[in-house]
């Protein structure tokens, strides 16, 4: 982009940021202490809640990374959307109703309450910081690619700019701001995709013409580049990871009620359906429109800047900007709450005031924002690879102690600790073996299986939690 168009792009980004600041200031006035900052005063209804859940999940990994995946591997990765929804069903049936009984703020709160363990809280908080550094670096990398391509500034400067924007707006509003920016994100994504998909569809000659061109390039592009086994492994990691993801748990804590939470999951499906179809059409169309891109992750930025007409392209670019800043914000907020609420407020300084914890949270946002910048500079891999990698770590660490722990009374503190650490260690070890599906298992699957076995075995051998604790979660 150059000249007047570049000016319009930056004005649009500035207008978005102004809206975010407006939402932030409005939220700031509504924010009453820690409950307001971290869980939006538990006020979110189904639609805004659904937009929040979608906005957390649909990161730059989708709007930039999955478009790049479709660009390179064709259709088959699309199945990851409905397969991932299995994880959301697990959340709707086995996580959301139970976890809303507990009036916590963060996932480590849940660990502390369910397993009566300060150690579990601390380990979970530290893990969140590590895993989310990786996840946040994917957002910065995607944003850096987009800003660098659009404006011509260097990639490093673009990454820093993305980090500054994300940090600034997260500090302003906490979860209130995040929730309403989530709705803004949903509106922008829908508007951009509703305009861009039919245009591309028509200009590329329809689905049949796309299929013929792709099939001639490589038959796997229209069929099964990824086999079902690979798709199940990826979707299992992402979907089941989402069922226990810290930022989604925080969002669930922000809902008005259990019913609102379950309906919100349905509304998030509505938003995801649009986006899933949109990113698929984007990726396939770009493969035919520009067959030899130097980097698949450039498919979305190039689509917005050079392929679509300016107005529609601007919407697609803006939707991507909102995506990586908003998901980055959710990650920052979750990491900040792990520091301010769990490590500082509960472990280091239990007497801290609400005001002090909110201040600590805002400081944590700034500090935590810096580490992923370094990872993004390294440009380790494709954006979606990084997202999947972080998801595999999370599901290995969190799934069993959260989902099984919410549905089996026999889980104990030691069982949870063994499950978390054993699952994570297995996943990492399995990966280092460097063989696909070693003894038939993906690293995340191996991690979850070992985590589950340890949870059951160790819980059987160690003292149970108190009766009051069991009543809190099991009635």
């Amino acid at each position: 982009m150059a000249g007047r168009q570049l000016t319009v792009f930056w004005l649009a980004v500035a207008a978005y940021l102004a809206m975010v600041v407006g939402i932030g200031l409005w939220s700031y006035r509504r924010t009453r202490g820690e409950e307001g900052f971290l869980v939006a005063g538990r006020s979110l209804g189904p639609v805004i809640g659904g937009a929040t859940l979608m906005a957390n999940q649909v990161s730059a990994g989708a709007t930039i990374g999955i478009v790049g995946f479709h660009y390179y591997s064709g259709f088959s990765y699309a199945w990851s959307w409905p397969l991932t929804w299995i994880g959301w069903m697990v959340c709707a049936l086995f996580v959301a109703p139970k976890i809303r009984r507990h009036q916590g703020f963060t996932l480590p709160d849940f660990f502390a309450a369910r397993y009566e363990s300060r150690a579990a809280r601390a380990i979970a908080a530290v893990f969140i910081l590590v895993a989310y550094s990786v996840m946040l670096s994917a957002q910065y990398q995607a944003g850096g690619l987009l800003f660098a391509l659009v404006s011509g500034i260097s990639y490093a400067r673009a990454v820093v700019l993305v980090a500054v924007i994300t940090t600034a707006y997260t500090m302003l509003g906490g979860m209130y701001g995040n929730a309403y920016v989530g709705l803004l994100k949903a509106v922008l994504l829908l508007a951009g995709y509703v305009l861009a998909v039919p245009f591309l569809w028509r200009q590329m000659g329809g689905l049949h013409a796309l299929g013929v061109a792709l099939n001639a390039l490589d038959p796997r592009l229209t069929a099964n580049w990824f086999g079902w086994r690979q798709l199940m492994a990826i979707s299992g990691a992402i979907g089941l990871g989402l069922a226990a993801a810290p930022y989604e748990i925080s969002a669930i804590y922000s809902m008005q009620s259990r019913r609102a939470t379950q309906l919100a999951i349905g509304w998030s499906f509505f938003f995801q359906a649009f986006i899933g179809i949109g990113v698929l059409v984007f990726g396939l169309s770009m493969r035919v429109a520009v067959p030899h891109l130097p980097d698949p992750d450039l498919a979305t930025p190039l689509l917005g800047t050079s392929i679509l007409p300016f107005g529609i392209g601007l919407l697609v670019l803006l939707a991507a900007v909102v995506t990586f800043t908003r998901t980055g914000g959710a990650i920052l907020l979750t990491a900040a709450s792990a520091v301010s609420h769990d490590l500082y407020g509960k472990l280091l300084n239990p007497g801290a005031s609400d005001r002090g914890k909110v201040r600590a949270g805002r400081i944590a946002v700034v500090l935590f924002s810096a580490l992923p910048v370094v990872l993004a500079f390294a440009h380790l891999s494709l954006v979606n690879f990084i997202v999947i990698y972080a998801a595999k770590l999370m599901v290995s660490f969190l799934f069993v102690p959260v989902v099984i722990g919410l549905n089996w009374k026999g889980g104990t503190r030691d069982g949870a600790l063994a499950a978390m650490l054993g699952g994570l260690a297995t996943c990492v070890t399995w990966s280092l073996i460097a063989r696909p599906l070693f003894i038939g298992l993906d690293p995340a699957e191996a991690g979850v299986l070992v985590s589950g076995a340890l949870f059951l075995a160790v819980s059987r051998l160690t003292p149970p939690v108190r009766e009051e604790t069991v009543k809190l979660f099991f009635g």
């Binding site: 199945w79 329809g206 130097p294 190039l302």
Partner: protein
């Protein structure tokens, strides 16, 4: 033709290798660093030009003339004999997407004053047409590689296929890709004539459109209502490889699941804790 080692996008070039390695070893930063290293190694599989100029002159007689120039950054080298497309070592290095309402005429290639007609294979990978330049034209020195061809249209929305190297272009300095300039001129100043895709901008002269890209688009599609031609409804022929029914099942699943879910959970009454 002796050219840079090129591979089709479907072959085991850089990002494909990364996919495989990712699934082989996804979960450590050390391995991600390894993947990043592989990316650098794979970056050598490029066509040695980072500066491309494409001029399209649309004529009043339902035709267009296309001129392409590639400034070579180094001599063209022998293609890898283990080419994944199955082509011999001196074979295909360019390709274009054949469109149903546009007929591409003979393609000529030239470098440093030597010119030849390029052999086109429209069968092997239809609708992609592979262009094979005879080894006699192989350049051992640098210079400006040129392609030239004419296109005839059968409809009111001219679509011009663009021939391109079947490999990624070299990256321009401080850029994420190459510097590709595309310039389209209509025969005279007709206000309704415009470029639909990719995004080009009208310049001072109302009949001229330009744009810059980091890779070569497969076609330029224009709208030119005043040219008097009837619409061309011809569809591209060939197998879509099952994409249509797969897409229908995928989209159908997504669209059906949402109301089903909302209906199911909307009718149930869950006791609220809060």
């Amino acid at each position: 033709m002796r050219v840079a080692r090129t591979r089709s996008p479907a072959s085991d070039s850089g990002p494909v290798v990364k996919f495989r390695q990712f699934f082989a070893s996804p979960a450590s930063l050390a391995l991600l660093s390894f993947v990043a290293g592989e990316r650098s190694a794979a970056a050598q599989d490029v066509f040695p030009s980072r500066e491309v100029r494409i001029e399209i002159a649309i004529g009043a007689d339902q035709s267009a003339s296309v001129r392409e120039q590639y400034a070579l950054t180094r001599p063209l080298q022998a293609i890898d004999s283990g080419s994944h497309s199955g082509s011999p070592a001196d074979a295909t290095t360019f390709e274009f997407l054949s469109l149903p309402c546009s007929i591409v005429g003979p393609v000529t290639a030239s470098i440093n004053g030597r010119t030849t007609t390029v052999r086109a294979d429209a069968q092997t990978r239809a609708p992609w047409v592979s262009l094979t330049v005879p080894p006699a034209l192989t350049a051992v020195d640098t210079g400006v590689w040129r392609l030239q061809y004419d296109v005839r249209f059968a409809g009111a929305t001219p679509a011009v296929p663009i021939a391109m190297p079947s490999a990624t272009l070299a990256r321009a300095e401080a850029s994420r890709g190459a510097d590709v300039a595309i310039d389209v001129t209509f025969p005279d100043q007709r206000p309704a004539a415009r470029i639909l895709i990719p995004q080009l901008h009208r310049t001072g002269a109302a009949n001229r459109w330009t744009g810059r890209f980091l890779a070569i688009p497969s076609s330029v599609r224009a709208e030119w209502p005043e040219n008097g031609a009837a619409a061309c409804d011809a569809a591209i022929a060939g197998s879509a490889g099952g994409l249509l029914w797969r897409f229908a099942i995928f989209a159908g699943t997504m669209v059906t699941w949402v109301p089903l879910y909302l209906w199911w959970f909307g009718r149930k009454r869950w006791p609220d804790a809060s």
